[in-house]
């Protein structure tokens, strides 16, 4: 008998990826859009029995104009601040029709999640609505021209935080906020790590209640990177601990899914025009902050869950 080579097994990174393609081409995303990859991977796992709820954000546009829809599943476009509440409503309606197995997924930007949609999201999470809420985080209001959001990283340039007045304060820790609601599942996802990404989507799909997926989304025009560099940038975000990959079960049980390589954050910042103005001290400061946050995460990972 011939030994099975690891190679033949691992040659195709993800074996059955192609059999389940739902999102089609022809959509209106910019070249190299990370948000688009997030949607593509998500839909691969979620499958056709899904209703997508999209508030005002880039994805309103990417999807295509009436009467077209690149997603191949029903989409409800809704107001900027209402993704979670609209999804709750869709869920209730479907449940009423006995379609409890249909996935209801809200897919919102960071502005629609961290800022204006936060109260609706908090409400849904507190009620533990049976929905999956995805936030694709491109770290600014990109659709309207790169305005700062509370997801914008510290000291980054945006049109509302121009050079000389970079964004003050750290990026809001949205996972902590959601974890504080005690929802069954909250996780960070990165399309540069497709296996980890798909696994987390599968985990979310296998559960009930409010599940929150936070996806980093490189935005070539907003981050001022070449369109070919978006996967590289996202990978560096995780390897430099700027966007660690982990999951939180029931708001308490932390599990780090990718050990960051500890790439200096300098390398991650250097490749992006939005950080061009940073001084060496700035970079050093960001590095120390990220190191601290990583330690914090490690500590959380070691805590035993509350066992009433």
């Amino acid at each position: 008998m011939k030994a099975v080579s690891e190679f033949s097994k691992s040659k195709r990174l993800i074996k059955d990826f192609k059999e389940r393609e739902i999102m089609g081409p022809g959509h209106l995303a910019c070249q190299g859009c990370g948000a688009t990859l997030n949607m593509r991977y998500l839909l691969k796992e979620a499958g056709p029995n899904t209703v997508m709820v999209i508030p005002a954000c880039c994805w309103t546009i990417i999807d295509g104009q009436f009467p077209f829809n690149t997603l191949g599943v029903p989409v409800m476009h809704t107001a900027f601040e209402t993704a979670a509440s609209a999804a709750s409503g869709v869920r209730a309606a479907l449940d009423r029709q006995g379609k409890e197995d249909t996935n209801v997924i809200a897919f919102a930007g960071d502005g629609g999640t961290f800022d204006i949609g936060l109260q609706a999201l908090s409400g849904a999470a507190e009620r533990n609505e049976n929905i999956i809420y995805c936030c694709y985080d491109n770290e600014a209001y990109m659709n309207t021209g790169i305005q700062r959001s509370s997801a914008t990283p510290e000291l980054a340039w945006t049109t509302t935080t121009p050079e000389g007045h970079p964004k003050q304060g750290k990026k809001k820790d949205i996972i902590q906020i959601l974890a504080a609601h005690g929802i069954p599942y909250a996780a960070t996802l990165n399309a540069a790590f497709p296996e980890d990404f798909l696994k987390k989507v599968r985990t979310a799909l296998s559960m009930k209640g409010t599940r929150f997926l936070h996806m980093i989304s490189a935005c070539p025009p907003g981050w001022k990177i070449d369109s070919s560099m978006s996967i590289k940038a996202m990978r560096m975000a995780t390897e430099s601990k700027a966007f660690p990959l982990y999951e939180v079960y029931d708001g308490v049980k932390y599990h780090i899914t990718h050990e960051s390589k500890g790439t200096p954050v300098k390398d991650y910042l250097k490749m992006q025009g939005r950080f061009r103005h940073l001084t060496a001290e700035n970079v050093d400061f960001i590095q120390r902050r990220l190191d601290y946050q990583w330690e914090q995460l490690l500590h959380r990972g070691q805590l035993e869950p509350f066992n009433g």
């Binding site: 099975v4 990174l13 295509g64 077209f68 690149t70």
Partner: protein, 607 residues
């Protein structure tokens, strides 16, 4: 219909935007539901650069003087397709089993992985495929009515005969020795290169219809005039004269050359060495002679006039000799053979120190006056270099600096004669001899067909050369184009162009050797297995591991990165053939696929 148009016609949505038009608000339904796909929207028009698949030449391929397509057969090994791997290897060489054991594997030096952790175990993998693949007799082209004589059956002669025969020429090998193989048969000892292995590989040539006449010395047993019945003659006669020490007492009984010792042992003759053997020299012959003497129950000391770093022998060999108990006496040179009744009693030596580097780059040994010392011994084995004996050559063949003068096609000053291997000026290694045999076969074929060798070279040189591809030559000479799965650009894939995000450091597979204790037990002359092969082949698991370490530089292996990372779902794995199709109508030209290709098998091109 073009591939592009076909794709477009397959799309049921292609005219959707035309069918659905609304003249006013009253046309709209109460609840607007979008059901049409966006595929009608040809986002390909946004693009000004386009990705394309193209393979490059992996550095190992050119690192091998013989142009072995190393990456290709490693891939076949990792897929468990051992027979095809062997077949692939044999497109360029008749003796993978020999090379997998005794080749000095310069390919591993050029392996990109060497810049990352340690090079892929190419040499061990070559042995693996020769051990695990089933040998197939290569196709022989229709007879050409031309005939070639090959003089000498070392690696150069074997390669030349093999390739010429594949092209359909009639080939006769003349070999002076009893059995074919040259140094492979009578030089390199059995414990490094088992005879039956060699015989098996030579057997393939016989099955192809190469006639091998052993025990015939051309110039003596048959005349050069007899060679005139052949259209061309290839000289692969090697170098076999041991250089003399140039000291007194050298003719005494008990002084013998390393080549002679090896040849006698290889011929099954009894050799009486006595107890203490002194081997003089630091090259491969010295090491092989020393390790052979160990197996004949002697206590062996190697005397070398420089230090270990300067030894021309392959480092692995020196290490193995040390492990087996060979003693090294460095920085010493022989000055006189002390004899008694014309029999060796001892060797008088002088100590030496190293001065400035000489033309070879090695530091020049300087004798320390008055440092003489005497080493008692029973046999002195000389191995300080080999020279060619050209007295047998036909008249008028130009010879310079101890080598036959040849041109780029290995043609000598007589246009009917070609020469290659150790007889011409080139590194004295098996793989260089193989490369010469191949080059001469091409040179001979071109001259027989009246074709231009230069034009052939331009078509079959691998990247920067000088390695040539026989696979490409066989197609070229029949005016055929090889249909590659992925178009090839004839350039080397450099380490810096790989995307290292996709590779992790891993341990190089260690080749197994017969343990020292076992080796020592088999060593006494009485032991039946005393020349048992020392190195063991890789197991299948080890081979799979070793093959998995290959980066596959510049070659698409369908890893799917381009497909997975396409934001526009515009890269599609082909279902019925190798590789991917790019949807030109929708690819926006973002370049992510090209950047994320781990092995630089894609590039962006202007349209």
């Amino acid at each position: 219909m073009s591939e592009k148009e076909k794709l477009k016609n397959m799309d049921p949505n292609r005219n959707a935007h035309e069918k659905l038009s609304f003249s006013g608000i009253s046309d709209l339904p109460d609840i607007v539901i979008s059901t049409g796909h966006m595929t009608w929207n040809e986002t390909g028009t946004w693009r000004y650069m386009k990705p394309r698949y193209r393979n490059l030449v992996s550095p190992c391929v050119v690192g091998c003087p013989n142009g072995q397509d190393v990456e290709a057969w490693i891939r076949l090994i990792s897929e468990g397709r051992y027979d095809e791997a062997l077949e692939k290897n044999m497109e360029e060489s008749p003796i993978p089993g020999v090379c997998g054991r005794a080749c000095f594997h310069p390919c591993e030096k050029s392996c990109n992985r060497a810049q990352f952790d340690r090079s892929v175990s190419i040499n061990n993998l070559e042995r693996f495929l020769s051990d695990h693949g089933t040998r197939k007799v290569p196709k022989v082209a229709a007879a050409t009515a031309k005939s070639v004589a090959v003089v000498g059956s070392g690696p150069a002669g074997l390669a030349c005969a093999y390739h010429l025969r594949r092209m359909g020429h009639a080939v006769t090998i003349y070999e002076a020795a009893k059995e074919p193989g040259g140094v492979l048969r009578y030089g390199i000892p059995d414990y490094r290169l088992p005879r039956d292995m060699l015989a098996e590989e030579i057997d393939v040539l016989k099955k192809m219809g190469v006639e091998i006449q052993c025990g015939v010395r051309v110039g003596t047993d048959v005349t050069w005039k007899d060679m005139e019945r052949f259209d061309r003659v290839f000289l692969g006669t090697g170098v076999h004269v041991s250089r003399a020490l140039g000291i007194s007492g050298e003719d005494a009984q008990g002084v013998m050359s390393g080549l002679n010792l090896l040849k006698k042992v290889a011929s099954g003759e009894d050799v009486e060495l006595g107890e203490r053997v002194l081997v003089i020299g630091g090259g491969n012959t010295a090491i092989d002679a020393a390790r052979t003497a160990m197996r004949l129950d002697a206590k062996v000391t190697i005397l070398y006039r420089r230090s270990r770093e300067e030894m021309p022998a392959h480092d692995d060999e020196v290490t193995a000799a040390e492990a087996e108990g060979v003693v090294f006496q460095m920085l010493a040179a022989p000055s006189k053979v002390v004899t008694e009744n014309n029999r060796v009693r001892a060797l008088e030596c002088v100590k030496v120190k190293l001065g400035q580097p000489d033309e070879s780059g090695r530091r020049r040994p300087i004798v320390i006056e008055g440092s003489n010392f005497t080493v008692p011994c029973d046999t002195v084995v000389t191995a300080v270099g080999e020279l060619a004996d050209f007295s047998f050559l036909p008249d008028g063949l130009k010879v310079e600096n101890g080598a036959i003068v040849v041109d780029d096609s290995l043609k000598t000053s007589n246009e009917r004669y070609f020469a290659g291997g150790d007889v011409v000026e080139q590194p004295h290694t098996i793989v260089n001899a193989l490369a010469a045999g191949k080059r001469a076969a091409i040179g001979i074929d071109c001259s027989l067909r009246g074709g231009s060798f230069e034009e052939a070279l331009a078509n079959i040189t691998l990247a920067t050369g000088p390695a040539l591809s026989m696979r490409q030559y066989l197609a070229y000479r029949e005016h055929k184009k090889i249909e590659e799965k992925v178009p090839v650009v004839n350039e080397i894939c450099e380490y810096e162009t790989l995307n290292m995000d996709y590779f992790e450091q891993s341990e190089r597979v260690r080749k197994a050797v017969v343990g020292l204790t076992e080796r020592m037990q088999t060593m006494p002359a009485s032991a039946p297995n005393r020349f048992k092969e020392v190195e063991l082949g890789l197991t299948e698991e080890q081979a799979a591991k070793a093959a998995d370490r290959c980066f596959h530089c510049g070659r698409c292996i369908e890893c799917d990165n381009c497909y997975i990372f396409c934001p526009d779902a515009s890269v599609m794995p082909k279902t019925d053939e190798f590789g991917y199709a790019i949807d030109d109508y929708h690819c926006k030209g973002c370049g992510v696929c090209v950047h994320e290709c781990p092995r630089n098998a894609m590039e962006m091109v202007r349209e």
